[in-house]
Symmetry: C2
Subunit: 342 residues, 2 copies
């Protein structure tokens, strides 16, 4: 079997009877080349099966046209959706995503190291929180970083996330208006700022109606841990009459556990509210009341922001907070009248 594309721009040049520069110019959009030679070159290129070597191009242009996509778990359907959309969006601009999966125990520094070596033009993070020293390292090397659905208190890093606080706030007031008196919060990972903001919103939303959050359990955005947490919540009275889960993925785990292991009905015995509005939330078996994150807009903003920063080189970090939308379905007892969202 033969070795890889041994055919270079020089080979094409020779065959077409022009210089290597001419060949190069045929594949650069804005280079100055006559129509006549361009045709000769393209003909020769096709005959030889020539394709510009993007590695060499990257070396000279100092741009790999590659974005590092950093993530940890793909079990929550929210992330695959983002991955797919983001990849298509970047491909349209002739950029490609290089995948970096941070393992459970998170040797994040190691991953960061290989990212930095890989000469990516930008970093899109939708995973594990960035420690500030690593953030510092990124900013220092001048690589644009955009966090999506995550945030970190560090100037110089751009962030795109949805309005977690007001999403939580809506849930709080909605549950309070629905007459719930023992509301539980099923939190995501402790390191997750999104989970904290949702919680803070919940607390304030409840407070606005004279209620408070009675108990917090840890679900870590994981299906099985959410199940266990639910069982713990119902280990002994007083039992919650509503559970707000920090993701739909966990909310589904809660519903399954309530119905099966605990023999509770949703929403008659316990109300359940999620966050994200993944496709599963709409399935008839769940009909999950939830808070929709605008995935398309998030991806759009994140890619646009990243591309902008890559292109202008000199940039300032920006934060984009996108509005969420309450989705009223049937997993939570409805208030007598519509809630006021603020």
């Amino acid at each position: 079997m033969k070795r890889k594309s041994a055919v270079t721009s020089r080979d094409v040049a020779e065959r077409a009877g022009v210089s290597q520069s001419a060949v190069s110019r045929c594949f650069s959009p804005k280079a100055s080349i006559s129509e006549k030679t361009k045709l000769k070159v393209l003909k020769a290129a096709k005959e030889l099966g020539y394709r510009p070597n993007s590695i060499a191009r990257s070396l000279i242009t100092r741009s790999s046209r590659t974005i590092a996509l950093v993530l940890s778990h793909l079990d929550n359907m929210f992330y695959p959706l983002v991955v797919e959309k983001a990849s298509l969006r970047f491909q349209a601009e002739d950029y490609h995503l290089l995948l970096f999966v941070v393992p459970e125990e998170g040797d994040f520094a190691g991953v960061m190291d290989s990212i930095l070596q890989s000469q990516v033009d930008g970093i899109l993070m939708m995973s594990a929180s960035l420690t500030s020293s690593l953030a510092h390292e990124c900013v220092e090397t001048g690589i644009p970083v955009v966090l999506i659905n995550r945030n970190v208190d560090f100037a110089g890093i751009s962030q795109v996330y949805s309005d977690n606080y007001h999403g939580g706030y809506w849930v709080g007031s909605y549950l309070a208006m629905g007459g719930h008196e023992r509301v539980a919060y099923l939190a995501g990972l402790e390191s997750s700022s999104t989970s904290r903001h949702r919680y803070q919103g919940l607390v304030d939303g409840l407070a606005s109606m004279g209620q408070q959050c009675q108990v917090v359990a840890q679900g870590d955005y994981d299906f099985e841990r959410a199940r266990l947490a639910t069982l713990r919540l119902f280990a002994e009275p007083p039992y919650p009459d509503a559970i707000f889960a920090a993701s739909d993925h966990m909310a589904v785990a809660v519903m399954e556990t309530l119905r099966t292991d605990l023999g509770r009905r949703v929403p008659e015995d316990v109300s359940v509210i999620g966050f994200d509005d993944t496709p599963i939330a709409a399935w008839p078996s769940y009909r999950l009341t939830t808070v929709r994150q605008p995935v398309d807009r998030m991806v759009e903003e994140a890619t646009a922001l990243l591309l902008k920063q890559i292109r202008q080189g000199d940039f300032n970090a920006e934060n984009r907070v996108l509005p969420v939308t309450p989705i009223l379905r049937h997993s939570a007892r409805q208030p007598a009248r519509e809630p006021v969202t603020d």
Copy 2:
């Protein structure tokens, strides 16, 4: 804001008082370098924040340590699982995945073009069927290609898939033994060989018990289309008493539709069997009887195969067919006695 890692091996060399070659050797695992100078160099490197430029390395070594991962949809949970595992597996070998998403309408040739330009060391395909001309192109450039969960009749391309035929066969005999008489098959994409093999197995499995498949509907591996297909199956009698869906994802769509729109009970009125055994299949709401694909083994075989082919350069295409496992849950009426699987 500064430009990227302006620090090169030359800078490090100067600071450490050695030649640039020496610096390079410090970062090559098997190069000959004395302990003393290695320390000097590493010290200087750390002080300057030096990281080898992997683009330059790729150019000279003619290896990008990058694998193209080609996929189309991520909505079936089977694929995100594969992506995550494969990425971790390759990272462990210091390879990384470059994502190529084939859009719905599948401008596959265009995608293939950018893959070839990107100088990847190998291609892992879990998407849209490869047309034979494109396959030819791959083989010609000498890039190893492994199809996972897909196959194509073309020598020179390696394939890793599970035993779809026998999976289907088991389903057929199991349904027949359960006394079903009007079995429907909900197919995946028409171009999908896996779907065809599962169907063939189903037909033969049914035949082995003197039954046959009564009707085939097209679900294209898509949730919504599977819903519509199910509605069509029940538009007028005679109604199926069992549906075998080519994926769990579609099987869930079927169950939801049966229960909600059609008021049928599963499995009392209609049996449903899926394929894959994604996590969702085990959820109490579905308890889906299904055929498990060995995801871990598939990923393991595929990565091992690809790496082997990359390393030895001269290789022969191989096919690996992995055994599937029937998972008996409660979405299909059980036969009186255990079925004989062959």
